[in-house]
């Protein structure tokens, strides 16, 4: 089971790096992509923590819908933010 511990560590580092990038990136679209990656890594981490229903919801909403909604709102307010 030490392999799963190492895998969890790698995924949590991925969550941390993606969240920091979503905070620090200048481009708005790149920040939205990084925020979607947080949901992706969190979904895999939920599978490792043996919660497949939470992982399925996170995959559907956190990684799938949130990026689309953010980009849709950004497209509606195009010109208000420099890209």
């Amino acid at each position: 089971m030490t392999m799963m511990t190492l895998l969890t560590l790698v995924l949590c580092i991925g969550i941390l790096v993606s969240a920091l990038l979503a905070t620090y990136l200048k481009s708005v679209v790149a920040a939205v992509v990084s925020a979607g990656l947080v949901g992706l890594f969190a979904s895999v981490t939920y599978v490792i923590l043996s919660a497949p229903d939470v992982a399925m919801t996170e995959a559907a909403i956190g990684a799938g819908i949130t990026t689309v909604v953010f980009l849709f709102a950004l497209s509606k307010t195009r010109g208000a933010y420099d890209e």
């Binding site: 790698v10 580092i13 993606s18 992706l40 599978v47 992982a55």
Partner: protein, 86 residues
Amino acid sequence: MAESILNLAVVLIMIAIALGVYRLVKGPSVVDRAIALDLLTLVSIALIALIALLTSRFIYIDVALVYGLLSFLSVLAVARYLDRGL
């Protein structure tokens, strides 16, 4: 034998995640980061299937299935936004 092969596959997938995160951090343009998102999505689907095989709980395959059905949507939205707006 099969256990060691699966562990080797987990190590290879961890290397792939590290390379994708490197491209996400380093990538100069938005397109590089969108490609990194696509790559990490694919690697995550493979990783979920591998975890289902390692822990012998095949309900986890459903998570990979839902993820594979829905994950192309975000990459498609990013590509469409970069083209002409959503």
